[in-house]
């Protein structure tokens, strides 16, 4: 592991993945997750796997946050309705 860029990328992935687990609120978790996606894409590029990095970028930057936030919104709306009926 002579390459400092690889070390930097690995440390960033370890840090952001741990933080993504440590943050508890789903909305804030989605924010950390999207940063984790970018960091992972950098790691894959540094390890000379640009195809995997591109997959990660394509899925992680917009589609995953959109799916997560739409789900959160649906669950919250249902919660609000239930609260009103009670």
């Amino acid at each position: 592991m002579a390459d400092p860029v690889v070390v930097v990328a690995l440390l960033l992935v370890a840090g952001s993945a741990t933080l993504a687990v440590a943050v508890r609120d789903p909305v804030r978790q989605a924010l950390v997750l999207s940063v984790l996606g970018v960091v992972l894409a950098v790691l894959f590029t540094v390890l000379q796997a640009p195809d995997v990095g591109l997959s990660q970028l394509a899925v992680g930057s917009a589609v995953t946050p959109l799916l997560l936030l739409l789900t959160v919104r649906k669950v919250r709306r249902r919660g609000q309705r239930k609260g009103r009926e009670r």
Partner: protein, 150 residues
């Protein structure tokens, strides 16, 4: 270890560490700005990596990130607009600093590549990145309002 690789390591290490710190601490407004910053830092970093490894094909990653990164921020701007309208984030200096970084990296890379298609591709990537980040920053600071149903 060449200079480009060192520049990439510094950009990615410093920039993404700052982003990570911003996105996990503080109020929601600060976190979304930090998320927008991730694209603005990683895209120049990927361009520098492509130059460091002397693989022009890696520019495609930066291009896709420049296109989709701001779209990801727009997702947050739109679906969190209720939470953000109360306390709109006021952090223009990180956005402009990141835009300056992107511009500087793109211009430096244009200076060392032979003029031609590759230069145009770099410029397009830079324009998409900087424009996208500024617009996404604007969308975060109250550019999208009144999202109730839609």
């Amino acid at each position: 270890m060449n200079g480009w690789l060192l520049a990439a390591a510094v950009t990615l290490g410093g920039g993404l560490t700052a982003t990570l710190w911003g996105v996990t601490t503080g109020p929601l407004g600060r976190r979304v700005v930090a998320q927008n910053l991730a694209t603005a830092v990683a895209c120049p970093g990927l361009l520098l990596l492509s130059q460091a490894y002397e693989r022009p094909a890696y520019v495609d990653l930066a291009l896709v990130l420049a296109v989709l990164g701001p779209v990801g921020t727009l997702v947050f701007a739109r679906l969190l607009s209720d939470e953000l309208t109360g306390h709109p984030p006021r952090a223009w200096w990180p956005t402009w600093t990141a835009a300056a970084l992107g511009t500087a990296v793109v211009l430096a890379l244009c200076a060392v590549t032979a003029p031609g298609r590759a230069t145009v591709k770099l410029l397009v990537t830079g324009a998409l990145l900087v424009g996208g980040n500024v617009v996404a920053g604007r969308a975060l600071t109250g550019g999208i309002r009144g999202v109730r149903g839609g």
